[in-house]
Amino acid sequence: MSVIEIKELTKHFSAKSFSKEKIKALEKVSFTTDTSEIFGLLGPNGAGKTTLVKILLGITFSTSGDAKIFGRPVSDVNTKKKIGYLPENHRFPQYLTGEQVINYFGKLSGVNSKVLKTRTVEYLGMVGMEKWKNTKIKKYSKGMMQRLGLAQSMINNPDLIFLDEPTDGVDPIGRKEIRDILIHLKSKGKTIFLNSHLLSEIELICDRVAILNKGILIKEGSVEDITTKANTYKFNTNELNDKIMNLLLNQHKAVLNGRNEFLCNVKDVEELNGVIDYLRTEKILILSVQQEKNSLESMFINLIEQQKN
């Protein structure tokens, strides 16, 4: 059973009150997520990412389409006992301390008081906020609020956690700590649904991603599949002579980067081995051969540009 199942999910907002003009926030989006997975949702501003998360949490209602969590409709209130959520720009009652915030939202999530006490200590420690638990949150920095928000999202030991920009405002060390927490949660069988603009972060930890643009799902798949440039290999060698360079340019349409490095597009593994054999015949020392990858960022930008055109 998929953890999240979305089928042709559509959301149209009215542009103005009493106006028939519609803003298409989501248009027939469909995908699924599985257990023990970190799933990234990407898209430029206004793509519909937050709208989609809000529909899954029952904060906003879809215009049409179907969405299920743990096989149950998203309108099922009891399902939320197994869900954690950290919204972007979350707001906690300012008069509470860190510990009180966790207690309050833990109880709202249906966590038993005895269990809550132990978990509060555990999760505040996990996010590095143990020292600040008795300080009123109005004194917290942005990064501290994010850490507290992350602890809040885990307090009911959810099977599915929605995180909207969880590393926003967090320093690089903190971001690494949060990534480690998410990987640890995944190893415990949790599913993490991650919205982030930091594509480098997504690339580091997500198993699969979906890319939204203007409410439309333009790409979905594993990070590996999306970023791998099929059949393109980067060779690092010792110095190449002119003869070899000309051959590579003419026969293999290689892209040369000085005399020690080139990119080569091949039809198949046999052709790749042909290139390697040729270089060895010419007594060229091959230092490395790597299958070329795009960064997620460059893939993302290319896809958005393609859709624009």
Partner: protein
């Protein structure tokens, strides 16, 4: 348990905003002033005056005094103050970032609205119990007359507040604005409902003086019947405190219907709204 947590959260918020502290501090001041005003010599003076003029007894003097405490002007001031205080609860809850968290928890939207309603009523009931309860104790201890019906005003005033608070919640959900909520509710409560109340009193008595046409009379009666009748309920309360009975419970019934409609609309609206 989730609903109880939500309700206690509202109390904690009121406590943190020093709302509860301000209410109880102000009420304590009123009580202290009352204690200072009703000295033993004051009571003895009133007793001798009543005996010498052959007027009504001490009990009736106490009842009249207590009825004065819960008369229209004090009632308006109390209820209006409470409505101003609670007007921020719903708009504050609907702030972006907080409402998202609330709606992601396993608590239904209906329970959220009802939780707000119950929390406001408990807050006001507690405040009224403190104020009117201690006033009753002070007056009773000083005069020796323990007139229990005065305590019924705690219930009646809470009821008046609950009826008006249902509209506060609906307007708060629709407008998300504390200021608008305060303005609309105070305008509805006073002067509109007061004018309608006066007009209805006029229609029920002999029609002397100003003459309304039948259409105007129908319109006024229509609005009088659909809007909450805080002033008429206060009349019922005052009669009961004086030891009498209500002439008619119609204002109470129609006002409770109003409360039911407002709460239902609030729940319906909130259940359909995108956040």
């Amino acid at each position: 348990m989730v609903l109880i947590t939500f309700i206690t959260g509202i109390f904690k918020e009121a406590l943190a905003k020093k709302i509860i502290l301000a209410i109880f501090a102000f009420f304590s001041l009123l009580i202290i002033l009352l204690v200072l005003a009703i000295t033993n010599s004051t009571v003895e003076g009133i007793q001798s005056m009543l005996e010498s003029t052959g007027g009504s007894g001490m009990k009736e003097a106490v009842v009249t005094f207590e009825a004065g405490i819960i008369s229209k002007i004090p009632m308006f001031m109390l209820i209006a103050s409470f409505m101003i205080i609670v007007s921020s609860f719903v708009p504050d809850m609907l702030k972006k970032g907080y409402i998202d968290l609330m709606l992601s928890k396993p608590i239904s939207r209906t329970k959220i609205v009802l939780g707000q309603f119950i929390a406001g009523i408990i807050l006001v009931f507690t405040a009224l119990l403190f104020l009117l309860g201690i006033i009753w104790i002070v007056i009773s201890a000083k005069s020796g007359i323990w007139h229990v019906p005065f305590l019924y005003s705690i219930f009646w005033f809470t009821l008046i507040f609950a009826i008006l608070y249902s509209a506060v919640i609906l307007i708060g959900i629709m407008t998300r604005s504390t200021i608008l909520t305060i303005l609309i509710n105070l305008l509805m409560f006073f002067p509109v409902s007061f004018l309608l109340y006066l007009a209805n009193v006029y229609f029920e008595n002999d029609k002397q003086g100003v003459v309304f046409g039948p259409v105007t009379e129908t319109i006024i009666k229509f609005f009088y019947n659909i809007l909450p009748k805080a002033w008429a309920i206060q009349d019922i309360c005052e009669n009961i405190v004086k030891g009498g009975a209500a002439v008619s419970y119609q204002p109470l019934i129609t006002s409770l219907l109003f409360m039911g409609v407002m709460l239902s609309l609030a729940i319906l609206y909130f259940n359909k709204k995108d956040y």
